[in-house]
Symmetry: C2
Subunit: 116 residues, 2 copies
């Protein structure tokens, strides 16, 4: 059996070479998006959008995931009816060695400090 | 002789405790602002706004320095008639150990890659 119309559901992603530091930093400059990235990093795998219990509307949540995807921070893939999200850790670590760890460390430290 | 009206020329800065990671990342999410921070880090001291030969208007340049100041990334101090800019390295390193180095490393790596 073929898998029809998969391509039409593929979401656009920047290639590794197209990822820009400025875009990554912009994507992470929002508390909700930073939280999403921290959870994805802690999990290490793929999570559905609905896994994240964000205090925002569904459309705002969708927007945040799109910003992360378009910046090259997360990969969003349809698996059956579910849209799965995964951190593009390999791409980011290759482009900017040590940066993701430093950002996650800074976010954890701030959360500890502010009780977030 | 007194030094009148110094306080009226003082520019508002967040205290160390008020600096937020999201604000720092937003401040660095622009190519001009990233370039300013790289130059300040390379210099290690204070530089005037006019030192930076940015390909933008004076008002845009002023805006970029204000964003950096309000995020707690740079300190802007009037010395006589000159407005001097310095990286708040001590504050940032204390709040987020290793982050500034990782960001500068990532920016340098991208500049090498893209010929920037």
């Amino acid at each position: 059996m073929s898998t029809p119309a998969v391509s039409s559901r593929d979401l656009p992603h920047p290639t590794r070479a197209e990822i820009r530091l400025e875009g990554v930093l912009h994507a992470l400059s929002d508390p909700m998006r930073l939280r999403i990235v921290r959870e994805l990093a802690a999990d290490g795998g793929e999570l559905t959008c609905s896994h994240f219990d964000l205090p925002v509307t569904k459309s705002t949540s969708t927007h945040h995931f799109r910003v992360l995807r378009e910046a090259g921070v997360v990969r969003q893939i349809y698996r059956g009816t579910a849209k799965m999200n995964g951190l593009r850790r390999d791409d980011l670590d290759d482009l900017f060695p040590g940066l993701v760890d430093a950002l996650l460390g800074a976010a954890a430290r701030q959360a500890d400090r502010l009780g977030g």
